[in-house]
Amino acid sequence: MPFSRAINAGLRAAMTASDRVLLMGEDIGKLGGVFRVTEGLQAEFGDRRVLDTPLAESGIVGTAIGLAMAGFRPVIEIQFDGFVFPAFDQITTQLAKMTNRHEGALSMPVVIRIPYGGHIGAVEHHQESPEAYFTHTAGLRVVSPSTPNDGYWMIQDAIASNDPVIFLEPKAKYWMKGEVDTAARAIDLHASRVVRRGTDVTLVGHGAMVTTLLQAAALAESEGTSCEVIDLRSLSPVDYAPILDSVRRTGRMVYAQEAPGFTSVGSEVAATVMERAFYALEAPVLRVSGFDVPFPPAKLEGAYLPDADRILEAVDRALAY
């Protein structure tokens, strides 16, 4: 099943399970969203459960807060990563802090779905990696599935959470097919997962970059280097146990991400691994990331985005220590 259909199926399952779940966003009803993730859901559940909202991102998030206060569990779609910023105030100063400001008297079960990242050659503001803005804000949970099975289960787990969840969908993966086991629940929403076993270097990443890490690991293997690959899945909180366990075995780690490197998720994970597994490390934890520039015009994204070669260059540097 393609990743986008898996999320669609997960949304359908959550909406079937509870009539308090409703979807809100621009063009998500009749059109089914520009990536068709919500296709067919308005026809199935009606326009009171799947709302084609006015074109106003702050309005979508702000009214979702009010709907959550009224007992609903809104799932919002922000059409593209670069369009989340008009809603940034409502997300960071309001949604993230509501439970805290109410001294626990109410919870904020709101999910914000954001298609994010590059690889699709889109125009300005249509491919960005805003995850660090949200992981930096207490009160938010931030996750990013990278496989159809995770898409199916993690969206349901995010909706079930009583805390606000920023749900980052790697848009490069929307058409990726994979097995979805609708009978067996995937691991916990905030668990990281080893997706490939290896002994020499630990490769960690999230979202679309997991696929690139697996490509790099396959190439490394042909050159005699065994890489372990870990999908972070949850960007906040981070589940360090599988990463630390791996690093203690391999002694080397590379974090790869599309986002700019400065004060990023990769920075945080690298720093924490160095704090907690310093004596197990044979080399500094290295980061491979997008550059600290605005996401470039599409014709340059190939030079901006980390690819398998750039990851392997870091693997070689790590092995050279």
Partner: protein, 386 residues
């Protein structure tokens, strides 16, 4: 002179033919033509109702002045006075029904107290003990939501709540005793915020049972309302497709009647309404600014002559209210103010672990870990000292 320096023409004036006013500045019953449609509602008010209006205004003014004093004495980090805006608030809040939901900004001390919120909860916020202070869903707080300091943000929360009322069929059934509505408060400065625009778009798109209650107190800190809008703010409502009515915000009776009708129409399913209450904050924006730097004494004096409480007192005296009544109100006001001072001084502090509480509704490993770390760190000193 640039257009924005020409602030002499206040966008809305008392001469606006749309203005609803029942009592004139001297407290005489003198309805404007625009008030005619509301006189049947006004006729339903008794002397006892009028006395409640007066009592609430006078008591909260005493509380407000006490809180201002407490800030000056270092007991509070900040205080935003409600001094001068009592009529707009008392009228509108008494117009709300028990089941209605109120979303204040940060100056609605009058509104919150009338709905049952303990004034000490506002003190706790301004003293730095909380970022909220009360549970809006605790019945004793009358569905009154916590203050929002980010301008206009709460207009979207109130609108979303109103959407929920629509989706759940909690309005528009035709039973005003059961149907629910929302009233959201904001100011002339907040009216420039994009969130207020988006809230009005959503409210009209989804026909929320909601009243947007704008207290135009003429100044956004030091910036006059003419810089926020070159046309009367109430005219904006028409652009969104909703009735929008200017009232004399220093006339508690006009505030009550217009808000009561607007709320009842909204709860009945006729969609949102907007009210612009023309009022004036006689005090500072907050205890951090100095109004003498940006406005004239003449202007303040002209509004002092339109004081909502003095106006209502004249009206009540004309209807034969007794001196004993006013003496009783004065005593109650003094007692409430004294009580707030006593209880403020008795407020305890916070435990350091409190900062980790309620960051999330569900357990969060990072927060839990940092809480344990701080406990251990502090304990290491306590252990060393023993």
């Amino acid at each position: 002179m640039t257009p924005l320096e020409d602030t002499a023409s206040t966008p809305v004036t008392a001469a606006d033919p749309a203005l609803v006013r029942v009592l004139d500045a001297d407290g005489a019953f003198a309805p404007t033509p625009a008030a005619e449609p509301y006189l049947d509602l006004v006729a339903s008010l008794s002397d006892a109702d009028f006395e409640i209006f007066y009592r609430d205004m006078a008591v909260i003014r005493a509380f407000d002045q006490q809180a201002t004093n407490l800030q000056r004495q270092g007991q509070l980090a900040l205080w935003p006075p409600s001094y001068g805006q009592e009529a707009a608030q008392v009228g509108s809040v008494h117009a709300a029904r028990t089941q209605d939901h109120l979303f204040p900004s940060y100056r609605e001390h009058v509104v919150t107290r009338v709905r049952g919120v303990d004034p000490i909860d506002i003190i706790r916020l301004m003293r730095g003990l909380t970022h909220g202070g009360w549970n809006p869903f605790d019945p004793k707080n009358g569905n009154t939501h916590i203050y929002t300091l980010v301008l206009g943000a709460q207009t979207l929360h109130g609108t979303g709540f109103g959407m929920g009322l629509v989706f759940d069929g909690r309005c528009g059934t035709g039973d005003p005793e059961r149907d629910e509505a929302v009233i959201v408060y904001y100011g002339d400065g907040a009216s420039s915020q994009g969130d207020v625009h988006e809230a009005m778009v959503f409210a009209n798109s989804y026909q929320t049972p909601e009243v947007f209650f704008l207290q135009n107190n003429q100044w956004a800190i030091s910036v006059p309302v003419a810089t926020q809008s070159r046309s009367p703010l109430h005219r904006r409502g028409a652009g969104y497709g909703m009735p929008s009515i200017p009232i004399d915000g220093n006339d508690v009776i006009a505030s009550w009647a217009v808000t009561r009708r607007a709320l009842d129409e909204a709860r009945a399913g006729h969609g949102p309404r907007a009210i612009e209450a023309l009022t004036y904050r006689l005090g500072a924006h907050t205890t951090s600014d100095d109004p003498t730097k940006y406005r004239t004494g003449d202007e303040e004096e002209s509004w002092r002559r339109r004081d909502p409480i003095a106006r209502m007192k004249t009206f009540l005296l004309g209807r034969g209210a007794s001196e004993a009544f006013f003496a009783d109100v004065e005593a109650e006001a003094a007692a409430v103010a004294d009580d707030v001072r006593t209880r403020t001084n008795a407020l305890g502090g916070l435990e350091r672990g409190d900062m980790f509480a309620h960051v999330y509704s569900e357990p969060h490993p990072l927060v839990d870990e940092q809480r344990r770390w701080l406990d251990d760190y502090e304990a290491s000193f306590e252990g060393g000292a023993s």
